[in-house]
Symmetry: C2
Subunit: 595 residues, 2 copies
């Protein structure tokens, strides 16, 4: 099944919701207006549609495989990766100083979606490299930057994040990998890391592992964790590759999905110690890692949108071709393509609305990121940073949870054929399931949202968002019947959100079990609201443009999709608030031994 990048929808968001015109006024982004966005997206679409997407099924059928510590990727991946790197795509959002394009996230995140729609397994390699670049930019020494950044930004080398150990998953306090300081200022690293995405592969000359470990004598818990760079091949002074470092792939996992992406168990120090260099200061590793995790969490949210889009396109394609039964309204005398049946339309609309809603939310979050990092005014930067940070767990948690529903519906639209692996719909269903787990499970995102993003400031940012939504409601109230219908749902959802915020603010300290029992429902409610809000904003824009006759078919579809979102998805919000406010009793009352 082929993939067509939704360039038009992306540009709609970039222009009208993320407001690229405002992004282009930020220092450093003067050349990044709508025209640039369009040119970049169209070029990006070509590569992903033509080169990367056709390898998606192949990767599922012929996953990466490991033998004697060597990992061979799916046939075709190596060449596709070469084209990706040569096209300069790895450097899209990275600084020009290190060979990047220096484009805003507002554009870059749309490109990221395309790559992930084309091939989720393939896209993980660049995604992790982005994280490594981010960490080195933030906390790397000049020497580390000089040694690694050009090569990573060019895509010649790739990066990994080494957090997890068998006993340390969500709880990084339990990390045991140790680092022994050496007289020359380097460290020797010993330990086992698991679930290392692209921890070993054959697509690049070198792999730069960013590794969490404890320096000998460091404090227990999270305050004793440091971050190290450990390259697969040591790098000589002149930048050429030196000796093989003492980090080896023991095995790769047999997984439910994203099979082409090798998930490695890495062993450090079996032959005397892997040589690493400290990033930043000792014992501040978790802090640096969080910076790169925030970038990665946003990116995983985009993966959710991406797999949803791919599943939607596949389902629409099948629904147009598969002929079965007459329409219930008697409009046709013969069996019709199933896209004519109301419930098939409902499923496709659910897939579409969820995808477009999450895409709009991610686009607006990207613009906030750009303003938070580039705006001249510190107060504006601060406001945008707070808004972005509130949105990260929503982009990650809500978009990926919705991708489970979307990819499940994708199988369902195919009926019995969906259950047959040859059809390809099942692959998306399997692939998507990792997205609610890695880079912090939905519960971890929800804890972040409840603790750091809502309770800590007494709900200030949350309420500020609610206030902005009220403004959109006021505009909707003056509008068409569709606008008013959407406004009614938006108001009910915003009201539910405010109730939930009040409950969380009131209970997080005094009754944490009650607050955290509703953490994931709160995340789902907030994500639903913000995505629905963006769809409502989109409806207002689309109505105005449709009235002018501008791209009428697209605008009318956007209006219908926004209406659908409100009545079928946003309408879930009040029930979720009930679970949060009244539901703690049913969670906490159960005795552990009674399960």
């Amino acid at each position: 099944m082929s993939y067509t990048a939704p360039v038009k929808d992306m540009l709609f968001n970039i222009e009208h919701l993320a407001r690229i015109d405002q992004v282009a006024q930020l220092p450093g982004f003067e050349d990044s207006g709508l025209e640039t966005a369009q040119a970049v997206l169209e070029e990006c679409a070509k590569l992903n549609e033509g080169v990367v997407a056709p390898l998606n099924r192949e990767g599922d059928l012929k996953p990466s495989w490991a033998k004697d510590g060597v990992v061979t990727t799916t046939p075709g991946f190596k060449d596709a990766y070469r084209q990706y790197a040569e096209g300069g795509w790895q450097g899209l959002q990275h600084p020009v100083d290190f060979g990047g394009q220096g484009l805003p996230k507002t554009i870059g995140s749309a490109c990221g979606e395309m790559l992930n729609s084309a091939n989720l397994s393939f896209a993980l390699c660049p995604l992790l490299t982005d994280g490594a670049i981010e960490a080195l930019l933030t906390a790397g020494s000049d020497e580390q930057k000089a040694t690694y950044l050009h090569k990573l930004v060019s895509g010649e080398w790739t990066g990994t994040m080494n957090l997890t150990e068998p006993q340390a998953g969500s709880d990084l306090a339990a990390v045991r990998t140790r680092a022994e300081p050496q007289p020359d200022g380097t460290y020797k690293i010993f330990g086992t890391k698991i679930f290392i995405t692209y921890g070993e592969h054959d697509m690049a000359d070198n792999i730069v592992h960013l590794v969490l470990a404890r320096v000998t004598g460091a404090p227990e818990g999270v305050k004793g964790i440091s971050l190290f760079t450990v390259p697969k091949f040591l790098v000589n002074q002149d930048g050429s590759l030196g000796a093989r470092n003492d980090v080896h792939c023991v095995s790769i996992e047999h997984k439910l999905g994203i099979k082409a992406s090798p998930t490695a168990v890495l062993q450090y120090g079996d032959k005397g110690g892997a040589i690493g260099t400290l990033v930043g200061q000792e014992n501040r590793g978790l802090e640096y890692m969080f910076i790169m995790m925030n970038a990665a969490r946003y990116a995983v949210g985009v993966q959710g949108i991406a797999i949803s889009e791919r599943a939607y396109q596949q389902a629409v394609g099948y629904a147009r071709e598969r002929v079965q039964s007459r329409p219930v309204d008697g409009s046709m005398n013969t069996a019709a393509p199933i896209i004519h049946h109301p419930d098939v339309k409902r499923m496709l609309m659910t897939m579409r609305a969820a995808t477009e809603g999450c895409r709009a939310m991610a686009s607006v979050a990207a613009a906030a990121y750009d303003a938070a990092h580039h705006h001249a005014d510190a107060e504006v930067r601060k406001q945008n940073q707070a808004f972005y940070e509130f949105l990260v767990p929503l982009v990650k948690g809500y978009s990926t949870e919705m991708s489970l529903e979307v990819t499940s519906l994708g199988v369902q639209v195919h009926g019995g054929m969906g259950f047959i692996e040859e059809t390809g719909a099942a692959q998306h269903y399997r692939d998507a399931k990792i997205l609610t787990i890695y880079e912090g499970t939905t519960a971890i995102q929800a804890n972040d949202l409840v603790g750091r993003k809502t309770a800590r400031d007494g709900g200030t940012v949350a309420k500020a968002i609610a206030a902005q939504i009220r403004q959109t409601e006021a505009e909707l109230a003056k509008g068409s019947s569709n606008a008013q219908a959407v406004g009614k749902r938006l108001a009910a959802a915003r009201d539910a959100f405010e109730q939930a915020v009040d409950f969380i603010v009131a209970n997080t300290k005094g009754n944490p079990n009650a607050a955290f029992a509703g953490s994931v429902p709160y995340l789902m409610l907030a994500g639903n609201l913000v995505a629905g809000w963006q769809m409502a904003r989109a409806l207002l824009v689309a109505e105005a443009l449709s009235a002018k006759g501008q791209d009428k078919a697209f605008m009318d579809a956007k209006i219908t999709t926004a209406r659908f979102y409100a009545d079928h998805i946003l309408s879930r919000a009040p029930g979720v608030a009930a679970s949060i406010v009244d539901g703690a009793e049913g969670v906490t009352a159960m005795a552990i031994e009674a399960f």
Copy 2:
């Protein structure tokens, strides 16, 4: 991961909700009281826990395989099936006249759940045999009954249902397989059938295919379809096996889940015609098939409950053992088993409440079936039949849709380990996905619910159920704070249901697209309501018994689970009603070409 049959919960439902004391007053069921139920369930648990469950993972790793038309099942399946048949389990609910046990469905369906929890792939073979028995009991000639029923009821032979063809899935009007009448009264069958569960295998001596086909010259559409028995081996007059019939397995499918269950493409008549005999009258095949499909639909609903139970047990087991992070309430100074974390409890409670709610609904439906078939009073039979028929699409549709949520949460509880196939959680997630598709997709169930079960009688049965629920609400209102909290949610859900019923009754004829656009949401709302109602009834019983000190730990857990169901699942109902009543616009407005 082992399986422990939830005998206590099943007996609670059978005793207090399905009221086995009343079932045991029906003619023919005099010996089928609570003691019998307990003895049968305990014996059934032994076989399934000890013999069938351990083969579940094996079946996923070593699926059935086909070579030259011969299908070999997973190692161990053949022997387990022999034990199943020898134990008399195939005949549990079938007439004593043909060697069965003649037990009520109220008991039989609990046994069915155990078999399916133990091994969904394995259980499909008996499930389909039940369907074949049902069809022959209903419409078979005396000769057909004499030839096949004893062997099917004893499990020596197995049965299949042959409906689907490449162009005829949900739409059986498109069936093309043809039957040519022969001078001796038999028919020669020619055609291709796909998706035939256990269409070929090595566990039994003979396979009796029940096949939909068109007799030469029959009318077009559904009114020209007849039903035939086509055995794999012809049966001699003395009952011994004769020549191999001209039906052959061409291939089996490579599927997302239930891999051990061979899904065959069967070719009829490549060597001159497969010999079949007509069941009942010509052109009434679909009518007979619907009888057996209703039984199979109920049974697939039970599969949803079964896989949910298995996933729940696996998740609880992991959550008790996996140690990660300190509890948020500061109650422990060290990292705790994750079952202590509120969101893990919330996930487990969601799994548990959904499973128990659907189980209670299925149990009550089974009792209605027994009364509908055995009660002495025709009016009572009729009422129970109407109630049962309303519940079948709910048991099938709602329980299986919920099993997708439950098995997904099952993976989620495991975190990263859930995505690794060795863990086993992913298998349940993959296996469950077929349940919303086969024996009629959720949309097909929903069409049945909207058209035949709600609109046709002007909502009479639906409103009668709502009236019964009001009585439960009245009891809850007089009860404890938990009872009142549940009553509030039940009333809101029942109110939402009545709104939806009114909308459906008003629109199904005049505006079918609007009514059917909300068909699946209506099914989900109705299923949620009826399951929630049964949980509310369970709460009232459990409170009374807990107060008497009877099995207090169990009763208190039931109360908490019922409360959880109300606040976390039943609370979704009002939002769904909004989608049904206001949501058609967003579905129907989208132009086909705009997708």
